[in-house]
């Protein structure tokens, strides 16, 4: 498949899944506090492993440089 075709399918899938996620009654309830908590925890759980790997890499670099 051509690059343009793959890009079109990926973009379409992304847009459709976005609508599905917003329909989840628990994740995006009308309460902004709950939505904020979900968003905050999602950010934490996404950023933490990256931060840990970066910290470990920095520590090893400091140890050997």
């Amino acid at each position: 498949m051509s690059f343009a075709g793959r890009l079109l399918i990926t973009t379409g899938a992304f847009l459709l899944s976005g609508a599905g996620a917003l329909a989840c009654p628990a994740c995006m309830s009308a309460d902004p506090k709950t939505a904020g908590t979900y968003l905050g925890m999602t950010l934490m759980m996404s950023a933490l492993p990256l931060g840990l790997v970066a910290a470990l890499a920095y520590w090893l670099w400091r140890h050997y440089s």
Binding site: A26, T37, Y38, M41, V53
Partner: protein, 193 residues
């Protein structure tokens, strides 16, 4: 004919011990474990019925007494750090600092046990509410880590003093203890406050 390329060598003194590297990786995994628990707890708290947390009818957590306990654990970490700084000379002060660090850690976990008995008597159990379930799961997991850390620290310290273990083993145990100490204020803030 095979071509043999020399591998870059690291001086013995700068080589990272397996114990320290393994502990660092283990700490990273444990951080994710506790992050997942905190995340689940925070979401349960935010989505509690009527926004009331702890749920009605559930006992209040001992915030003040645990604050004193928190201070004891933090002091344990400071004493271990100080003791290690004085360690190369194996002075009496260093030994005293490390011994007190271990004793304060043991006092922390013992006092936590006393609080647990009190809370169980007041009706907070694993199945009494999601509050109870989260409390025993998160605080219990930390308590298990404290006990494991104490055993590792005592064993590594004793082995280093008797020169039956490499000093790196004590370093690894120290790192784990710092993790346990630094994790606690986060748990206290999220679960108790």
């Amino acid at each position: 004919m095979d071509l043999v390329l020399p591998l870059p060598t690291v001086p013995e003194t700068r080589r990272l011990s397996n114990a320290v590297l393994g502990t660092a990786i283990f700490i990273a995994a444990e951080t994710m474990f506790f992050a997942a628990l905190i995340s689940a707890h925070t979401i349960a708290k935010a989505t509690a019925l009527g926004g009331v947390w702890p749920p009605p009818g559930q006992p209040r957590l001992p915030v003040e007494r645990t604050a004193v306990n928190t201070a004891a654990l933090l002091l344990s970490g400071v004493l271990l750090w100080t003791g290690n700084r004085l360690m190369p000379r194996f002075s009496d002060t260093a030994k005293r600092c490390i011994t007190w660090a271990i004793l304060l850690g043991a006092a922390f976990v013992s006092l936590q046990g006393v609080e647990w008995v009190r809370l169980l008597r007041e009706g907070l159990t694993m199945t009494s509410s999601s509050h109870g379930g989260f409390f025993y799961l998160i605080i219990g997991a930390h308590a298990l880590h404290v006990v494991g850390g104490l055993i590792a620290l005592t064993w590594a310290y004793w082995g280093t003093l008797r020169r039956t273990l490499a000093p790196e083993t004590f370093t690894a145990a120290r790192f784990f203890w710092y993790f346990v100490v630094l994790l606690w204020p986060v748990l206290y803030w999220r679960v108790y406050l």
